[in-house]
Symmetry: C2
Subunit: 103 residues, 2 copies
């Protein structure tokens, strides 16, 4: 099964990551991934599926998340190498993300 393309680590920029996180829905998605990978169908972001897909794509293209396919399902998680590139950044930003966790 064809996987989504992800940027190489050295193409990830601090401004690109900040832009990706600068939307409430996207910040909410990333905050809900703090505990680990989730099925992308499991989000209740009060937005349409196409809007959610757009946000997940934006996060993937900025290098914030990994979006992998497994069978007919998709899973998203925070990129492991993001914290190597920008140590502490995501944690620092997520401290101020809304408390609510998408169902």
């Amino acid at each position: 099964m064809k996987q989504h393309p992800h940027p190489p680590k050295d193409a990830i920029t601090i401004t690109g990551v900040l832009a990706a996180l600068s939307d409430p829905v996207r910040l909410d998605i990333v905050a809900s991934l703090r505990q680990g990978e989730r099925a992308s169908s499991g989000f209740d972001c009060s937005v349409s599926n196409s809007t959610l897909s757009h946000h997940i794509r934006t996060l993937r293209e900025a290098g914030v998340i990994v979006h992998r396919k497994e069978g007919t399902r998709c899973f998203v998680s925070i990129r492991q190498d993001l914290d190597e590139l920008f140590p502490g950044l995501i944690e620092s930003v997520l401290r101020f993300a809304p408390e609510r966790t998408p169902a």
Copy 2:
């Protein structure tokens, strides 16, 4: 002398701050203010004056910087209350800002 309007502290949002910081020139401006207030005429950002004014306005409207007039000069500094709102955030982001300091 009329001063520029600034948003009240409770109108500053994490996503607004991240959006303001998500541009290389703006991140550079804020990084150069780590040491304190600077005259806005003192920046050499390799951008035109009008572009610089636009970036400074964006940072001011997002609640990241204070832009004050004194006589015919303008001074910019990082908002003191930003670190009260989002403790550690600016420092965490600026760790990954380019090293160069605008002249």
